[in-house]
């Protein structure tokens, strides 16, 4: 019995070994670049009424594809699977609201400079009367599976997290009263509240935004300092220098982020 289990485990380990090819060559050969993006994170990456994925990050992905003279292929990803997709070579690049943390840097290649930044806050009905993070203790709080701030919020404030795989499920659960708040990125909460949708008229972002984290686009770790990684770093610098992201914020109606404005000023001067 034990032997069978061990053999099974060894097989499972062997099957998941990582394939690494030179991504730039792969893109040239294929004539297309495969980018993992969000499709439920309005307006960074979301579905338009015709079912096409659009948004600020999709525009950025298109820009990368144009620079490489390649066609753009989009693969929708969620927080819990995007890094594995990149490691397995199923996608060439992540542009999916990915927070840049030290832990994640050990498995994928984070491109610097970071292109965006967001912090942690909650979306809650006004009737919940939240004022302080400490009020979340022992209350049901909705979350997204695999978000980096889940652990920090749980350890600091002790809520009972109820996590789902996708944002639509969370918003639905929140509206039905299955949880008193939704702990999430302040950027998305901002854009949800300012969308003018009457559904959110009685909701607010009541707490102080905490733990600002920069976002990064990511390439496979072995290629971070190779030609592919260097190319993406230049692209990211260029975005800040030309004010591409500032422009896209305007286009998609996103509240200007102080981080992006600061990066633009800094790189413009260089």
């Amino acid at each position: 019995m034990l032997k069978t289990i061990l053999a099974g485990a060894a097989l499972a380990l062997a099957l998941t070994s990582v394939a690494d090819a030179q991504t730039l060559d792969k893109i040239k050969q294929r004539g297309s670049i495969v980018v993992g993006v969000k499709n439920d994170y309005k307006p960074w990456g979301f579905l338009d009424p015709s079912g096409k994925i659009v948004g600020m990050e999709i525009d950025l992905a298109q820009d990368v594809a144009n620079r490489l003279n390649a066609k753009l292929e989009l693969i929708p990803v969620v927080a819990a699977n995007r890094m594995e997709f990149l490691q397995q070579g199923r996608i060439d690049l992540i542009i999916a609201t990915l927070g840049d943390t030290a832990q994640r840097r050990t498995v994928i290649g984070m491109i610097e400079p970071n292109y965006y930044a967001g912090g942690t806050n909650v979306l809650a009905p006004k009737s919940a009367g939240l004022k302080d993070w400490k009020q979340l203790k022992d209350r049901k709080v909705c979350a997204i599976q695999g978000a980096y701030y889940n652990r920090r919020v749980t350890q600091l404030y002790g809520p009972e997290l109820v996590s789902f795989t996708g944002i639509p499920e969370v918003l639905n659960a929140l509206q039905q009263g299955n949880c008193i708040a939704f702990v999430f990125d302040n950027t998305l909460i901002d854009s949800t509240l300012s969308s003018g949708d009457p559904k959110w008229a009685n909701y607010e972002m009541p707490l102080v935004t905490e733990d600002e984290q920069p976002w990064a686009i990511a390439v496979p770790l072995p290629e971070l300092n190779g030609p592919y990684g260097e190319f993406m770093k230049k692209v990211s610098i260029d975005w800040h220098k030309t004010g591409k992201i500032v422009e896209l914020e305007k286009k998609w109606g996103i509240k200007p982020s102080p981080f992006v404005a600061e990066m633009h000023q800094k790189h413009k001067a260089m």
Binding site: T16, V162, G177, I180
Partner: protein
């Protein structure tokens, strides 16, 4: 305890096999809580689904056509739809229609929690199969035996409880075994509505610690052990209930 934690820390440092559940208190606590939730969900759902099966099979033999139709409708509904969709349907569609109640903190919440919906949904799902499994067992009880019971003055209910069911149960056990094993595995679906069972706990851990490979192996091994224990118990039960000269 310290020594075990140190050994797994060394394993991570030396070989990159990162099993945080053995040295990180936070991860270990939530993984164990996940395991307990899985066991608790399994036990409660197994008990409820067997009760549903026994009662349903009895009603199926009823003289009233409407009752029989109702049970038939229930079986068709739960057997012909995927359990994940049932779960979503209950939690998001039905749950949203129920009147809200006030909880201990004074907030308006739905009356049925995600845990309760998981139990309801899985019990009815497995129960639908159990009804059919017990019906097959009941049909295997010779008509003459039932007639003998009737001749001795048993009512329909008493004959069912004392004569038919004990015999039918023995015939049904192997099929019931299969269905209950399936039920234990189905409890993993509860993670879709935020019930912190084992798969949910593991996915929380691997998306933070990024040890997908290690946790997948842990999950597989723990499930083999949990389901193995259930199969062993059921096997013992089957042997204990064996009647020489009857059935399997």
């Amino acid at each position: 305890m310290e020594a075990i934690a140190d050994w797994f820390k060394w394993l991570n440092a030396a070989h990159g096999i990162n099993l945080t559940i053995f040295y990180d208190d936070f991860d270990r606590a939530r993984f164990l809580r996940g395991l307990l939730t899985t066991l608790w969900l399994s036990v409660v759902c197994i008990a409820l689904s067997v009760v549903i099966g026994v009662v349903g099979a009895w009603v199926q033999g009823s003289r009233f056509r409407l009752l029989r139709r109702l049970v038939q409708g229930y079986i068709q509904f739960f057997r012909n739809t995927p359990p994940l969709i049932q779960l979503y349907f209950f939690y998001f569609a039905v749950g949203g229609l129920l009147p809200r109640v006030t909880d201990a903190h004074g907030a308006l919440v739905p009356p049925v929690s995600n845990y309760a919906w998981a139990i309801i949904s899985f019990s009815f799902f497995a129960g639908a199969f159990n009804v059919e499994i017990f019906r097959a067992g009941i049909e295997a009880v010779p008509r003459t035996t039932v007639e003998a019971a009737e001749a001795l003055g048993y009512s329909r209910l008493k004959a069912y409880i004392h004569v038919v069911l004990p015999l039918a149960f023995r015939v049904s056990l192997p099929a019931l075994n299969n269905n209950l094993v399936n039920l234990v595995k189905t409890t993993t679906l509860a993670y879709a509505i935020g019930v912190s069972e084992m798969l949910y706990a593991a996915s929380q851990i691997w998306s933070e610690v990024l040890n997908v490979r290690e946790m997948m192996n842990v999950l597989l091994i723990v499930y083999v052990l949990v389901v193995g224990a259930l199969v062993w118990l059921m096997g013992r039960w089957e042997r204990a209930m064996r009647m020489p000269g009857y059935g399997v």
